[in-house]
Amino acid sequence: DTERKVSRKWEQKQVQIKTLEGEFSVTMWASDNKK
């Protein structure tokens, strides 16, 4: 149940990171904008 609740509320997203050495992306969780 907890697993389902989390998956409803949070979505995985690719996040772009820019540092002085260059850019790369990571996978993070953010709350679903639509809900």
Binding site: K18, A30, S31
Partner: protein, 434 residues
């Protein structure tokens, strides 16, 4: 008042104060009327944000990623990524300010993240470090700041007119015009007043304001207004739907003369023996506090029959609260004798709304609370007692005589950091003056 004025502090440091007092703050979710309340469950320790890097000597504003260590109201203790377990540079920050963003925000505006200079040489490869720290972690939604802005907005607008309690004579109503709105709090100017600064602050969900025409509708006889008060050129009346809905009541069952216990609207630290003076329509009652009634009824006060500020006879004794009674009965008060001697009856218990929400407030929690006797002031405060849905709020650094009983859903209490969020002054405890 002059002492209070000296205590105004824009720079009150909530973080240091909570640590110093070893106290916790009431979470934002407990304040349903507060901005972001519905979303705050998503905020927690371990969350990553992009935040202004204050440990750098560049001339431009740069950002770095920080981890939320602790949340207190709208404020969070943050630690820059790279410090590991070292708390030496932890800092408190209001998460709803413009310098806090979701991870990824800097890249969207082409701004490189710059590590704090204290640790800039700690890692030779920041990319590997950040990938390890960020993958699978939580961050804010991209539209977090838009949500903050939306949730602070009020549907009330300046120049709207409404009916409001007369602060100088609480039994009567006057027409108020909204002059200013700050975080959902309205600064109202009394329309009939000749004085420029004759204003009154209250929250837009306050029970002290009503739409134009309310007095007539409920049969409240004392409204200071001209015959054609319902419309005024150049002004808009605030619509009914902007005001909080009250429970619909066909026949409330209260009768004039019935005795109750009620929070004294002129001394909110006291719960008093009181009398239903008049029953208006739609469940509204005019209440008089026993023993302090002005002969002309000018201190009667209008409460809705479902208001959390009125209680059945015996409520105080049942909950170990000292009941304020008329002077003549001070040393020997019992409800039984008093009802006998005043030839009156107690309002039946079933007439009261005993809805008890699972509010989540705990003793000792810190918050920001309006001084309802001077409602333009919002002060550092603590919940010192809880009785059902009633919170006993103490203003930190002030005598207990200024304490107030407020309902858990009162729109006059706010989470730590609310004043900073909406841009109003927070009154620091007087002993915090340097």
């Amino acid at each position: 008042e002059s002492e209070r004025q000296q205590c105004i502090s824009m720079g009150f440091d909530w973080g240091a104060y909570l640590v110093n007092k070893k106290s916790s703050a009431a979470t934002v979710e407990l304040f349903q009327h507060s901005p972001m309340s519905a979303h705050w469950g998503e905020i927690g320790s371990g969350m990553k944000v992009e935040v202004l890097n204050l440990d750098c000597n560049l001339n431009t504003k740069v950002f770095w990623i920080a981890s939320v260590v602790q949340v207190a109201g709208y404020k969070a203790k943050l630690r820059y990524e790279g410090f590991g377990e070292d708390a030496c540079c932890d800092f408190w920050c209001n998460l709803c300010t413009l310098d806090v963003h979701a991870v990824g925000w800097c890249a969207t505006i082409g701004k490189p993240l710059v590590p704090p200079q204290t640790i800039q040489h700690k890692y030779t490869n920041w990319k590997t470090f950040l990938v390890r720290r960020l993958t699978g972690a939580k961050t804010l939604p991209n539209d977090f700041q838009r949500r903050v802005i939306e949730s602070v907005k009020s549907q009330f607008l300046t120049n709207m007119r409404l009916e409001v309690v007369d602060k100088t004579k609480i039994s009567r109503m006057r027409i108020g015009i909204i002059e200013e709105i700050v975080g959902g709090r309205l600064r109202l100017r009394y329309e009939d007043s000749d004085y420029v600064n004759d204003d009154f602050w209250c929250h837009s969900q306050s029970a002290l304001i009503h739409p134009i025409g309310w007095c007539e509708r409920v049969g409240h006889k004392i409204l200071v207004a001209s015959k054609d008060y319902k419309n005024k050129k150049g002004f808009k009346n605030a619509k009914q739907e902007l005001f909080p809905a009250v429970k619909q009541v066909k026949s409330c069952g209260f009768k004039p003369g019935m005795k109750i216990e009620a929070i004294d609207p002129l001394n909110l630290s006291a719960i008093c023996a009181a009398t239903v003076k008049k029953v208006l329509k739609n469940g509204y009652l005019m209440i008089g506090i026993d023993g302090s009634e002005a002969a002309d009824g000018s201190d009667w006060f209008c409460y809705h029959c479902t208001a959390p500020s009125i209680f059945p006879v015996g409520f105080c004794i049942e909950n170990g609260i000292s009941l304020s009674v008329p002077n003549a009965y001070k040393d020997s008060f019992t409800w039984e004798t008093y009802l006998n001697e005043t030839s009156s009856s107690a309002a039946p218990v079933e007439l009261f709304d005993r809805d008890l929400p699972d509010h989540g407030f705990k003793r000792g929690m810190k918050l920001e609370a309006v001084d309802l006797m001077e409602p333009r002031l919002i002060c550092v405060a603590t919940v010192t007692r809880i009785v059902g849905r009633l919170l006993h709020v103490h203003f930190d650094g002030w005598e207990n005589q200024y304490d107030q009983w407020v309902d858990c859903n009162s729109p006059d209490i706010y989470p730590v950091g609310w004043c900073e969020l909406v841009g109003c002054e927070l009154q620091a405890p007087p002993n915090m003056l340097v």
